[in-house]
Amino acid sequence: MRRVVVTGIGVFASTGKNANQFFDTLVKGRSAVRRIEQFDPSQLSVQIAAEIPDYDPLAFFPAKRLDLLDRFSQIALLAAKEAMESSGLELKDEERPRFGVVTGTGMAGATTFDTGYFNLYAKQATRLHPFTIPKVMHNAATSQICMELGAQGPSFTTATACSSSGHAIGEAFHLIKNDMADVMMAGGSEAPITFGMVRSWESVRVLATGNGDPSKACRPFSADREGLVLGEGAAMLILEELDHARNRGAKIYAEVSGFGLSSDASHITVPSIDGPARAVRMALAEGKVNPEDVDYINAHGTGTRVNDVTETQVIKEVFKDHACKVAISSTKSMHGHAMGSTAALELTATVQAIDRGVIPPTANYTQPDPECDLDYVPNQAREKTVRNAISNSFAFGGLNAVLLVRKFE
């Protein structure tokens, strides 16, 4: 049976503009949430988000190239470049048809859409820029990465809201396992911090306000939590068939060993217990891992009451007695909820936790909640050998993706 390992990681996100910086910030328990700077948020009741600080696209791309890149494609390319470099891969032309790209995004070219529609409706423009469609399409980031890296193998984009990049990575894992590719770039990208998008999320009434102290706004599993905080960022992982990686002496960060996916088929925004639980069980079954051998869960942990209580029940349902022993943390408390890329950010953090033997904390945890009574690794990172870990993604729309990774030995 073909095994799949992670041999490269790349991140461009609010908590760090490369993978090491990203994880170091998480380990320190530092939140990147701040008052929004990409536009003037003063008309909004929610004025905060986890934005990438001091980002100047012209520092990374020629002007001509930027004409065709929405912000979500720019950051996808930056994360992909780092992942490729960290893998040390140098593919020959004949290997390119066995190298593909799968990325997830929820909102794709949100910035371009927002600007375009503002021009169209508010400024009465009679037409939109001809690059609008190639910039906003969901597969733009995947296609840009394929062109940049010469990836000619199986490539596509997944869009399942907050699970998008979980599904992307899981599908990429299965493409290698099923001998349809040897190397895959898998991850996600999201740049949703626009006036229209924040206003839309505000209307769902799931956002934390926290304008007074943005860095403390997102408090998953804590009794005083107020809701989720939107974030932006991209994370990419190089997945590689084990022998392919061994033959070139690659550094192996972790092994991807299971993927579980399911649909709640119950409610468009309220998660069920059964759906996510089935996804967790499916991932464990594929990896032939017993629940008691899981040392870390990177939770979906959005910081909404509905999610945090339900997810706690899901973990109890699947892990039984082991539920109170497994370390659980929500890194969304720091990098925010980056929707389509959040699963990729979180799987990267999970892989780094395995690689470094350190579990990042749930930041901003202040008070225990009787309905969330497990070990959420509050505020302080924990040194621990992680043998097996799962990363949960339970999306709006009830579409769940759970990834299982293990320490490679």
Partner: protein, 95 residues
């Protein structure tokens, strides 16, 4: 108005090229302008000159001179049906 000068300025701006490198005789191929770039340049020209360039003409612009000539005729309100016919490849069309 010097249409040629303005067209060259717009092409330089949209393609991020040095204006000195573009002459009325430059072809799109020489300037590395592909079909998508061409659409972008047309969009900028239409915005600048506040007019519509018919798609059939637009698709056949392959050089700076063709752009200037077609644009001049559209600006002057001349009948461009012969250009349209030629662009469509009609056998009796003449420019």
């Amino acid at each position: 108005m010097d249409v040629s000068k303005k067209v060259i300025e717009i092409i330089a701006r949209e393609q991020h090229l040095d204006v000195a490198k573009i002459t009325p005789d430059s072809t799109f191929a020489e300037l590395g302008i592909d079909s998508l770039d061409g659409v972008n340049i047309l969009f900028a020209l239409e915005e600048e000159f506040k007019l519509d360039i018919p798609d059939t003409i637009a698709q056949n612009m392959k050089s700076v001179r063709q752009v200037v000539d077609s644009l001049t005729r559209v600006i002057e309100g001349k009948d461009v049906s012969d250009l349209v016919a030629m662009a469509k490849g009609e056998p009796n069309a003449t420019a």
